[in-house]
Structures are given as structure tokens and as C-alpha cells.
Amino acid sequence: MESFKSHRGVVATLDRANVDTDQIIPKQFLKSIKRTGFGESLFFDWRYLPNGKSNPDFEMNRPEFHNASVLATRNNFGCGSSREHAVWALAQYGLRAVLAPRRGEVPAFADIFHNNSIKNGLLNVELKEAEVDEIFEMVRRFPGLEVTVCLEEQRVTLHLPEEISFHFEIDKAVKDHLIRGLDDIGLTLRHESEITAFEKRHDAQFLP
């Protein structure tokens, strides 16, 4: 997996809460047996008109967002279905990080989506609501705004005439995993002897 240390790129906005994985990648694209080719179908029902042309009313289709590699959106992003295809679609579209706010008790990201993101090097950044509001406002005022998402320093920087930075919190294990771009299965298999020992006593209790 590609490691994530720091990334600078254009930030696009998607001003909706509770964006579910059915929207991120609709069902008809889940029939593939490959891991690639999902980027073109990202947000398919919102992004394209029935005639297949780009939908000019869809926020992410604005010309200034065409090279976006960071997405700013609202709370509970990625809820619903467990489909990892949603993360593959976002990553293959060219996104490296998604920024979203915690809103009161509502977290920025849904659990399964968050786990899937980690496995694919897509950084989920949970910010404060006021901070995401500010990003939306700055993108409105400065179309094509670039941001740097620095995982090592846990900081999002808006490259404005006068730079603004936001600190973010992240689980230590997740941070370490992303920075080193680790292969989880390889790491787990280092515990082979513990797994085998566990199975010996557990099977006897569990299996009929």
C-alpha cells in the first residue's frame, strides 16, 4: 500500500451530510471482480446526467475541482453498505484525503468506511465543525484553493494569502499504519504461533 506522510492538492467540496456508500458507488458497479476501474463511476447518479454527460449542477463537477485530490464534506460520510468499492472509487478518482467534521455526537466518518479507507491509504481527517465550515467558505472565496494534509504533524493547512492551519487527532495505530504503508496480513502472520496456540484451545471449546 502507498504510504501517506503529507499531501498537497486542490480541495473540492461536497456539501451534504450522511453521504452513503450507495451514492459513492452505486450497485451496478459492484459486479466487477477486479480492484480497479471504479474512479469513473464515483458518485455516478449525481455526477452524470441520464444521457451520460457530466451534470453541471453537481458540486464536484465545477471546473476548479477537476484536479482535486482532497475532498471536504459533512458528517457521517460513508455510512451504509460495507462495500470497499466506495473507497476504491474515491482513491481511483484521485483523492488522497477526505476532511469531514464531527457534529456534536455524530462522528465525521462511518466505521466500516473508515476501516476500509485505512486499508487503502485514503486518509480520513476528522475536524471541528467550525473548521470545516471555514474550509467551505474559503473554497467559495478562493476557487481552486490548495491544502496540505500533513499526517506526520496532524495538520491541515489552507494555502491562502495568509495561511490557516487546523490540528487534527488520529488514532496512533492508524497513523503509524498509514505512514508506513504496511501490509496488514503480513504483520498479522508474524503472530502465527499465537494464532495456532489460540486455535488449539479455542477449537476444543467452540467446535461441535
Binding site: R16, A17, N18, D20, D22, Q23, P26, K27, Q28, L30, K31, S32, I33, K34, R35, D45, N75, N76, C79, G80, S81, S82, R83, E84, H85, V87, E105, V106, P107, A110, D111, I112, N115, N116, K119, N120, D171, K172, A173, D176, H177, D184, I185, L187, T188, L189, H191, E194, I195, F198, E199, H202, Q205, F206, P208
Partner: protein, 466 residues
């Protein structure tokens, strides 16, 4: 120290604590279906890895399967996915309930009915509705494809421990109120992210009074409130279910008796602390109908479509977007909303008791001529049982279509899809935009309410019929 049921199951499955602070959790059952597994098997091939425990891994085809002429999948890409699973199961030595198997069905229906789902176990599947199996006091949750590959290769998952959330249904439900209404009400109260990061434990007299199948309906939709899983402590209802002769993979005889002895200890200790808690007075609940594009957007059947800005768990703008998509106006009575299609099926509500409940409404009545009604049993076993009881005859006599088992119009990956603008009363679990077909409008309800809507052509308060 007092422990919750979740903590007991968690500790029983701890294999190791790697240096990064995560936990290696052992997985007792891995259920696999055709949509979220092909890339995982491909990953194993690329790295030369094997499936560690094919004996704990079980597969079926459900998402793509047509419900008419099912052995003949016309969509080439769907067929390729089904064939890929067949080949992968053969290559890696995994038991497959194939399309022609008498045990095929929706993955979360066949696990319990075959006795694969056992109390105190850990169960995963590349599908968010894996939470269904929590009805047995199993820690069961959905995972992505990378994690599917991880479990295939190691039989473990790297996990961070979830928080706990007590959901107490006090009192008893009134006539006409179903398990579906309990869970929809909860999601409406706490919102679709209310449970994120938590494992629910459902308890209270109303939960104890539920059958196993009703408990599965409740646990199934835990994910719709954002929860990682939902648990119900096992009791005599659970043990009776597991003692039935068709639970092929469950322990038998003296072994079963011994295990029941262990399972009886699977309860939250008195005084154990939960991170969060909610109590709901079940006696005050009414049948629920969803009005929007997220499962938390629900209202009592005798209520009205809400005004934007008046829904506590949903922002004003999101209500406006939802009403626009659904083609509804604030203030409209729920019972005035007409339906074009009725879907009775899915891992939420396609077990035999659901079909009996729907048949009870259809008996002696006719589906309104303008309403297309699909009844899709959850498995081949459910289908045979329904036919043995003559339920299929009741459905077809009423003018509904009796289909073969699969996920069908719950997510519309097979040919069963809504047309743009069509409005559906559905017993499934998600009313997301386009979920049942692009432009389709979904209203989530229980099986009796769905059947009544098919007859009347609009939503009805089932309490007036029972």
C-alpha cells in the same frame, strides 16, 4: 469485575495485542458472498496465501441472483461474479451453498437457519448486515474486502475495541407493532450515526418476548444506526431455536446440552457499565414508516411528513433534499401516500414468520391492480416451508408474485429494480437514493404494513386491520 456481554465475547477471542496497540481478534465463522469476495481471493493468489480455516468459512450467492429463472443469469457481468465465487470456493476448499443447493439463500438468513450462528461466537462477512447474527449473542459485524482477505488468510482481524451502548426496550408492544417498528423507532430517535463506534446490547422485556426471527430483524438494522454490531443475550428462546433438527451445523445431543450450559453465562453482569444508554417505552410505539432517504427518517404511521427544521436528528437542508427526492410535501398524511410497488423480502424481513405475517394480511384480500407486489423468500428452506404451509397460494391468489430466494430488490443488483419515480413500500433496510433502482423511492415498513399497502394502494395503519 462486572462485564458486559460484549466484553465477555471480546475477551474470549483475544489472540494477541500487536505492538501498534490494536487487537487480534479470532473469527469463528466467516461468511462469504459473490460481491465483496473476488478481489480478496485474487489478493490471496497474488501473494501465494491459502485460506487458513476453510472449515470455518461458508459461502453462498445472493446479491446478483435473479428471482425468476435463477439458474440462467442473463447479465454477463453478474454471471462472471457468480462463476468466480464457484471457482474460488473450489480452489480454496470452501463449502458453497450454490444456486442449485437446497440451502442457498441470503447469507444472513442461511447462517442462522443452518445452525452456523452460535452464541458467544465471532462472525464476520463482507456485508454490513452481518449484525443480524447478534440476535444469538454472537459478536457479528460487516467488513470490507481487504478485511475479508485478512480473515481468509489469518482467521483473525485487527480491531480496536468498540464502546458499548445499552438499548432497553421497556414495556411490551401493542398489537400491530412489530420488531421492525422497534428498530426503526430507535434509529429515528438516535439518528443514522447515533451508534457509530459502539456495539448495541438490546435488552428489556419487549426484547425477551421476541422470537429468534424477530430478534434478527432488530439486530439486522443496528448498522443503520451506525453501530458496529447489535447483541441480544441468549436465553431459552435461543436454545430452543438451536435445538431444532434442521440446524445442521449446530452441536447436537449431549454436546449441545453442555454448550447451552456455557451459553447461559453469556449475559451482561449486574452492575456492568455501558458507555451510553437509552430506554424506550415499547408500549407507546406505533407502526413506523420512513419518509426520507435515510433509515433515521421515520415517523408513526398516523403521523405526517415532517416540516424541514423540525426533525431533531436531521439538519433542515437534509430534510429538504430528502423530501425533494421523495416527491413529498410537509404536512401530508402518511396514510395518503400512494405506492406503486411492494417488496417483501431481504435479510431484514424474509424469514418464515415474516411471510406468515404478510400472508395473514393477504388472506381473503386482493392486491390493488396498480400495485406490483414481489414476495421474495430469504432462502430455499424458507421457500419450501412457505409452500408446505400453502403461503405461496395465498400470495398468488391475492395477485402478488412469488419468487425465488435472494437479496432481490433490497439493493436491486439483480433484475428486480424500481423505475425512476416509482414509490415502493419495502420490508428491506435502506431507503437511500437509488437503492432499489435509480430514481426509485423507498419507504421502509414491516411485513404486515407492506402487505396492507399492497392491498390498499397506499399506507394504512395496520392497527385498524388486526
Amino acid at each position: 469485575m462486572s462485564k458486559t456481554l460484549f466484553e465477555k465475547i471480546w475477551e474470549f477471542h483475544l489472540v494477541a495485542t500487536p505492538e501498534d496497540g490494536s487487537t487480534l481478534l479470532y473469527i469463528d465463522r466467516h461468511l462469504v458472498h459473490e460481491v465483496t469476495s473476488p478481489q480478496a481471493f485474487e489478493g490471496l493468489r497474488l501473494t501465494g496465501r491459502k485460506v487458513r480455516r476453510p472449515d470455518l468459512t461458508f459461502a453462498t450467492m445472493d446479491h446478483n441472483v435473479p428471482t425468476v429463472d435463477r439458474l440462467n443469469i442473463k447479465d454477463e457481468i453478474s454471471r462472471a461474479q457468480v462463476e468466480a465465487l464457484r471457482q474460488n470456493c473450489k480452489d480454496f476448499g470452501i463449502t458453497l451453498f450454490d444456486l442449485d443447493s437446497e440451502y442457498q439463500g441470503v447469507v444472513h438468513i442461511i447462517g442462522p437457519e443452518n445452525g452456523l450462528t452460535l452464541p458467544g461466537s465471532t462472525i464476520v462477512c463482507g456485508d454490513s448486515h452481518t449484525s443480524t447474527h447478534g440476535a444469538f449473542g454472537a459478536l457479528a459485524f460487516g467488513i470490507g474486502t481487504s478485511e475479508v482477505e485478512h480473515v481468509l488468510a489469518t482467521q483473525c482481524l485487527r480491531q480496536k475495541k468498540a464502546k458499548t451502548y445499552k438499548v432497553d426496550f421497556i414495556g411490551q408492544r401493542a398489537k400491530g407493532v412489530t420488531a421492525k417498528d422497534l428498530i426503526l423507532k430507535l434509529i429515528g430517535l438516535i439518528g443514522t450515526a447515533g451508534g457509530t463506534g459502539h456495539v448495541f446490547e438490546y435488552m428489556g422485556p419487549a426484547i425477551r418476548a421476541l422470537s429468534m426471527e424477530e430478534r434478527m430483524t432488530v439486530c439486522n438494522m443496528s448498522i443503520e444506526a451506525g453501530a458496529k454490531a447489535g447483541l441480544i443475550a441468549p436465553d431459552d428462546t435461543t436454545f430452543q431455536y438451536l435445538s431444532q433438527p434442521n440446524r445442521r451445523y449446530a452441536p447436537k445431543g449431549a454436546d449441545l446440552e453442555k454448550k447451552i450450559g456455557h451459553w447461559k453465562m453469556l449475559a451482561t453482569d449486574e452492575g456492568a457499565k455501558f458507555d451510553k444508554a437509552i430506554a424506550i417505552d415499547t408500549s407507546k410505539l406505533a407502526p413506523q414508516v420512513s419518509w426520507g432517504t435515510s433509515p433515521g427518517m421515520v415517523v408513526d404511521v398516523d403521523g405526517v411528513v415532517p416540516e424541514p427544521g423540525t426533525v431533531p436528528t436531521v439538519a433542515k437542508k437534509d430534510v429538504e433534499l430528502a423530501l425533494d427526492y421523495m416527491g413529498l410535501k410537509p404536512g401530508m398524511k402518511i396514510t395518503d401516500i400512494p405506492v406503486d410497488v411492494v417488496f417483501i423480502g431481504s435479510c431484514t424481513n424474509a424469514r418464515i414468520e415474516d411471510l406468515r405475517a404478510a400472508a395473514g394480511v393477504f388472506k381473503g384480500r386482493k392486491v390493488k391492480s396498480t400495485v406490483k407486489t414481489l414476495i421474495v423468500p430469504g432462502s430455499q428452506q424458507v421457500k419450501r416451508q412457505a409452500e408446505a404451509e400453502g403461503l405461496d397460494k395465498i400470495f398468488t391468489a391475492a395477485g402478488a408474485e412469488w419468487r425465488e430466494s435472494g437479496c432481490s430488490m433490497c439493493l436491486a443488483m439483480n433484475p428486480d429494480q424500481l423505475q425512476p419515480g416509482e414509490r415502493c413500500a419495502s420490508t428491506s433496510n435502506r431507503n437511500f437514493e437509488g437503492r432499489q433502482g435509480k430514481g426509485g423511492r423507498t419507504h421502509l415498513v414491516g411485513p404486515e404494513m407492506a402487505a396492507a399497502a399492497a392491498v390498499a394502494g397506499h399506507f394504512v395503519d395496520i392497527r385498524e386491520w388486526v
